[in-house]
């Protein structure tokens, strides 16, 4: 036992508090948040090394024994997600230096991002179900403020809807925790898992599982609970949109993966429902991405497809499909951020989000064009890039389960995803130029180049990342490892 699993939570926490005091000094804000995120990235690398060397890291806060206190649990899955979260956040902050206006920057923008990170990272590394709810609220509260910061009409309108949906889903979460507590009488996730295996074949457990699916489906934008996402995300400014698109829905996906594998791993019924819902999510995401001519909307609907693909991998629940789902989860967090930041750069270069009004950017901004092209084919999963290996293993897992229709839908969806992003490439970068002014967008482009390079390296060196990912699936496939690490039996 060591304290390392709490550092990724308290670093952004104290940075956020510190930044409140200097909210008018933009230079200090930028400097402190960049330094803090670099420190956080280094810490999470240490955390990954510790988990690799010594197995699942658990930390009983205040030295209370496992089921009675709050336990922080860092297995490889949460450690990898913490690292990816920090990298994504660093790139969004680098983009914000030029990509967001000074008014927003001087009104607690950077503090709010740090508190969002506290919530997200806390949700990834907690081992207590009510604590998970609290970290969800930390994350959501900062996301409300980030969504409305600036106070334009469209932001106000969409924040009202976003808050309402999330209040309802948080309410359902507490209700579900209440039901679960009345069945098992504990809140520690490992202890719940142990006790649930003793009350097997009880109908109430399936009800609780479906309630969890509704709660986390609302957070993670799963069919039929995704309706709030396109409108709300559309309202946010680009760097905030990139953070939301990369992190918020993925926390819902992680929670589904964690609770379903830990609590309900023997319940076939709930995995079938999850599989069907994720396939419908994929289809709807693809339809949405093809329907719009607005580049923001196209990428937002691609989030839906990705959530569907990852959850299909989780629902198949074989070793290969879980490894694929984790590869795809990390890849998607990185590449979605890159794409959102790139469409921000496209907006800066062309002055519009609408495809029919732009064209010919290839001649004026070649670096932007080729970065976007690589990001686009990586999203679709072309072999040397990072999207390939994840989808390959998810489909392999689907075939192992003899679910040919599902695997086929996942395969076909890649084609349409490719079509939707190549549509952007063709309309925006080819053709004749519509604008004579050529604004410089170097500062906006750098963070997405970093992310695309990272995606490229994940694709090339997937062999050396594979042991880490396969270690991460261990605790998902065999919940006993997790339980033993927490309860020290």
């Amino acid at each position: 036992m060591s304290n390392i699993s709490i550092f990724p939570i308290i670093i952004p926490f104290f940075t956020g508090i510190l930044l409140i005091f200097f909210h008018k000094h933009i230079i200090i804000q930028r400097l402190v948040s960049t330094v803090s995120l670099i420190v956080a990235i280094i810490t999470s690398l240490f955390l990954i090394a510790a988990v690799k060397k010594a197995g699942v890291q658990t930390l009983n806060l205040s030295n209370w024994e496992a089921p009675f206190g709050i336990t922080l649990v860092s297995d490889m899955l949460s450690a990898l997600l913490v690292l990816t979260t920090n990298i994504v956040a660093l790139c969004c902050i680098l983009y914000s230096f030029k990509g967001i206006d000074q008014d927003r920057e001087s009104y607690f923008y950077y503090s709010l991002i740090q508190f969002l990170l506290v919530g997200v990272i806390g949700a990834f590394s907690t081992g207590d179900i009510f604590n998970l709810f609290v970290f969800f609220e930390v994350m959501l509260m900062s996301s409300y403020a980030l969504l409305v910061i600036g106070g334009t009409k469209v932001q106000l309108r969409e924040t009202v809807k976003y808050i309402l949906v999330n209040i309802i889903s948080s309410g359902l979460f507490v209700t579900t925790v209440g039901y679960l507590y009345s069945v098992v009488g504990t809140l520690n996730m490992a202890h719940i898992s142990e006790r649930l295996s003793e009350v097997e074949n009880s109908g109430i457990l399936t009800v609780i599982a479906v309630l969890f699916l509704i709660v986390f489906g609302l957070k993670g934008a799963l069919f039929p609970l995704f309706f709030w996402m396109p409108g709300s995300y559309y309202a946010a400014p680009i760097p905030i949109l990139a953070l939301f698109g990369a992190l918020l829905t993925k926390v819902g996906v992680y929670s589904i993966a964690r609770t379903f594998t830990l609590f309900f791993s023997t319940n076939e019924y709930i995995f079938t429902i999850l599989s069907i819902l994720s396939l419908i999510t994929i289809v709807l995401g693809v339809i949405g991405a093809l329907a719009y001519y607005d580049i923001k909307k196209i990428i937002i609907y691609n989030i839906l497809t990705a959530v569907g693909v990852i959850l299909y991998g989780v629902a198949a629940f074989t070793e290969n499909s879980l490894i694929g789902a984790l590869f795809y989860l990390m890849h998607d967090m990185i590449i979605k951020t890159a794409l959102f930041l790139l469409i921000g750069a496209i907006f800066a270069a062309s002055g519009t989000f609408h495809l029919s009004k732009m064209g010919g950017l290839l001649s004026s901004h070649p670096a932007l064009a080729w970065t976007f092209f690589i990001a686009a084919i990586s999203l679709a999963g072309i072999p040397p890039l990072s999207g390939f290996i994840g989808k390959l293993m998810i489909i392999q897992g689907g075939f192992e389960k003899h679910d040919y229709y599902g695997s086929f839908i996942v395969l076909i969806s890649s084609l349409f995803v490719l079509l939707s992003v190549i549509k952007i490439f063709i309309k925006a970068f080819w053709g004749t130029e519509t604008k004579t002014k050529k604004p410089s967008i170097k500062a906006l482009l750098c963070p997405s180049i970093i992310l695309v390079c990272l995606s490229f390296f994940i694709g090339i060196f997937s062999e050396s990342i594979y042991p880490y990912i396969s270690l991460a699936t261990e605790t998902l496939l065999h919940p006993t490892n997790y339980i033993e690490a927490v309860l020290k039996e």
């Binding site: 609220e137 009202v160 809807k161 948080s170 309410g171 559309y234």
Partner: protein, 113 residues
């Protein structure tokens, strides 16, 4: 006792749902208030309503009521208090900026701002 509480919580949930499906923002916020009341009562009920002393060790009783749900409710109350106050201020700002409290009129236009 638990059955009576369940019925009351059910009524609270029903009225919350009804209010949240209406058009005016204020009615919706009242609905979220009722929803959180229902949820907190549900947590209390689910912890068990067996008789016992209040959880203070100075009482020297033979049995106490379960302290855990009370701590959970206290946490949930302050969280929903924070969210509700944010929501109320947001509704106020929205009314100032957009000049309406009718959710039907809060639709996006085709040519986004």
């Amino acid at each position: 006792m638990e059955i009576l509480m369940s019925i009351i919580i059910g009524i609270l949930f029903t009225s919350a749902t009804y209010l949240m499906l209406s058009k005016s923002i204020l009615r919706i916020i009242i609905g979220t208030g009722l929803l959180s009341h229902g949820i907190h009562l549900l947590l209390l009920t689910m912890g068990g309503l067996k008789k016992g002393a209040s959880p203070l060790l100075g009482q020297h009783a033979s049995s106490y009521s379960d302290p855990l749900p009370q701590a959970l409710i206290l946490t949930a109350i302050v969280i929903s208090f924070g969210v509700t106050s944010f929501f109320l201020v947001l509704a106020y700002r929205t009314y100032q900026e957009l000049g309406t409290d009718n959710l039907e009129k809060l639709r996006g236009k085709k040519e986004h701002e």
